[in-house]
Amino acid sequence: MKQILLITDGCSNVGESPVMAAAHARQDGITVNVIGVVDYGTIGELGSREIDDIAKAGGGLSRIVGTPQLAQTMQMMTRKTVVQTIQQAVNKEVKKILGEGSLDDLPPAKRSQVVTVVDELSETAPLRLALLIDASASMKPKLAAVEDAIRDLALSLEAREGDSEISVFHFPGSTSEAAVLDMDWSRNVSDIRTLFGKIRMKGATPTGPAIFKVLEHFGYDTLDEHQGRLAAHSDEGEGMPGGYVV
C-alpha cells in the first residue's frame, strides 16, 4: 500500500495543479491524504476547497486542524486509509462472489469473518508512506509541531506487524527542485532526528510540482523492485499486493 500525506496551510500558487497531481497519484495506486494546519485565523475558503479537492482526486481524506490535534489526525488518517484500501479490495471480491452488494450487505456472521480478514490484512500488509510538508514562510512556527507529530506517527507505524516505511519531503526546494527529500524510506523512529533544522523559508507554494516529485520517488523504487517481482504481482495497480485474495 502506498500513501502520500500532504501537510499544508494554504493555497498552492506555482506550477501544475495539485489536484491533477493527486489524480495522477491515484492512477498510480497511491492514496493522497491532506491535512490543513491552522493555528490562528482560518485557512480561507479557497485554501480549504483546494485541500478538499486534492484529497478527493487522490482518493483520500482531508481535515483542517490546529497543531494540538495534528499527531492524532495523522495517525487516524493513515490508519483509516490503510483499512479503506483493504476494504475496497475486499469489497471487489465480495462483489465477484455475490454478484452485487458489498461488505455492508452481508449477514452479521459472514461479515464478522470478513472483517477479521480485513483487520488482519490492515495490520500485516506492507505500507509505504511519504510525508510531504509545506515549508513555506507561513508554516515556519508550526514545523516543530509537525516534526513531533511525524515522530509520533513513526512510533505507531513501527508497532505494526507489516513492513512500514516512512519518507519525508518538504517543499519548496532551493532553486530548481520542487521538493527536497529530508529522509529516505526508513523503518525506524530513531532515524528521525532533526528534519527541518536548516530550511530557508520561501514564499512560494508549488504544491502540484511537489506531489509530482514524490510520485517520481515512488516510481524509482518500484522500478528497482519490479525486476524481481514482476511475475509474482501482476496487478499492482490497486496499490496493494495482488497476492491477497479473500
Partner: protein
C-alpha cells in the same frame, strides 16, 4: 476524530430521540430508545429496553461499519473465551454476559450492537466523591478485569478513568472496548497521557505491560492530576517514564508508589503477577489501615482537669 471523507461508505447518523424504536434487520428484535448514555470513539451509546419488556440494555450505534464490527469481533471472542473458562472453573463471572447481539437497523441500515447496561459513574467522579481510599479496592477489580482480558489474548488499549464505570457500591467495570485488540498487534486507540509511547517509555505494540502502564498513569491521574499535567508540559523529546516514576515517589502511600514504579518500568512479567502484588501490598495495606483520629481538644482538657481533681482528692484524703 471520525470525520467522514469521500471514501467512507457510511454517513454519520443523526441523534436518536427518546421513544424511537430501533428494529433489527436480521434478528427482528425491537429496542425503544430511552436516553443518550455517551459517545465513544467508534459510536454513540443509548440506554434502551426491549419493546414491551422492562430490562434495560445499552445499545451502541457505530459511526463506521468496519470499526464497529471489529469491536463486536473482540467482544464475541472474549465472550466465548470467558464461557470456556467459566465452564472449567464453574464460577459465573459477572462479565460473561456483556455482549447480547449485533444487528443492522431495518430503517437507516446503520449497524448497532446491544450489551449489558453497566450502571454507575465514571471512575474519576466516583473517587472524587467518595475519597481516594477506594482506590485499593477498585484497582484490584480493574487488574482482575485486565488479567481476564489478557488470559483470553486481548489487551484493552485505551485504559483511562472515563472508560471505567463504578457502581454505587464500588464494583468497577471496563466499558468501551473500541481500543481493545489482540496481544502483539499495534494499539488501535489510545489517549496521550495513558500511552507508553507518549512518554517515550516503550513501543505501541499491545502487550500486557502496555495496559499496566496505562493503569499506573490512571492511578497517578486520580491521585495527583496537577503533577501529571506539569510533567506532560515538557518538550516531547524530553518526556520520559522517569518523570512519572518521580511523581509516583511523591505519593504518601509508599507501597503504592513502589508498585507504580514497577508498572511504569515494565517490570511485571504478567498482569497476574501485577495483580497479586497489588492484592498483597496495596490492597491489604489500605484494607487494614486503622483511621488515625486526632484527640479533640476538649478531651485533653477534661483529662487534665480530672488528673488535677484526682491529685487534689488524694492530697485532701491524706492530709486530713
Amino acid at each position: 476524530m471520525k470525520e467522514k471523507g469521500c471514501l467512507v461508505g457510511t454517513s454519520s447518523n443523526p441523534p436518536r430521540s427518546p421513544g424511537e424504536v430501533i428494529v433489527g434487520k436480521w434478528r427482528g428484535n425491537r429496542y425503544v430508545v430511552n436516553r443518550l448514555l455517551g459517545k465513544g470513539a467508534n459510536g454513540t451509546v443509548y440506554l434502551v429496553n426491549r419493546q414491551g419488556r422492562r430490562e434495560k440494555y445499552a445499545l451502541k450505534i457505530g459511526y463506521d461499519m468496519l470499526d464497529l464490527q471489529s469491536e463486536i469481533n473482540v467482544l464475541t471472542s472474549l465472550q466465548s473465551c470467558r464461557v470456556r473458562r467459566d465452564q472449567r472453573t464453574r464460577g459465573a463471572s459477572p462479565m460473561s454476559a456483556y455482549f447480547l447481539e449485533a444487528d443492522d437497523a431495518s430503517e437507516g441500515g446503520f449497524p448497532f450492537y446491544v450489551m449489558r447496561y453497566v450502571q454507575g459513574t465514571p471512575l474519576h467522579y466516583f473517587l472524587s466523591r467518595k475519597g481516594s481510599s477506594w482506590l485499593g479496592l477498585i484497582g484490584l477489580q480493574l487488574l482482575d478485569r485486565l488479567c481476564g482480558l489478557h488470559e483470553c489474548g486481548f489487551i484493552f488499549g485505551d485504559l483511562k478513568p472515563e472508560n471505567v464505570m463504578v457502581s454505587e457500591y464500588g464494583i468497577a467495570e471496563l466499558i468501551d472496548f473500541g481500543g481493545a485488540g489482540p496481544i502483539s498487534r499495534s494499539v488501535k486507540q489510545f489517549t496521550e497521557w495513558h500511552d507508553r509511547g507518549y512518554w517515550n517509555a516503550g513501543s505501541r505494540i499491545g502487550d500486557e505491560s502496555y495496559d499496566l502502564f496505562a493503569f499506573a498513569v490512571l492511578c497517578l491521574r486520580l491521585l495527583d492530576e496537577a503533577g501529571l499535567q506539569n510533567a506532560s508540559r515538557q518538550l516531547p523529546q524530553t518526556r520520559s517514564g522517569d518523570d512519572l516514576i518521580k511523581l509516583a515517589a511523591q505519593l504518601p502511600d509508599k507501597k503504592l508508589a513502589s508498585w507504580l514504579r514497577l508498572a511504569l518500568k515494565g517490570g511485571f512479567s504478567t498482569s497476574a503477577e501485577a495483580r497479586d502484588m497489588w492484592k498483597r501490598h496495596v490492597y491489604t495495606s489500605r484494607h487494614y489501615k486503622p483511621e488515625p483520629m486526632a484527640t479533640p481538644g476538649w478531651l485533653t482538657g477534661a483529662f487534665a482537669l480530672s488528673l488535677c481533681l484526682l491529685a487534689f482528692t488524694v492530697y485532701w484524703i491524706y492530709h486530713f
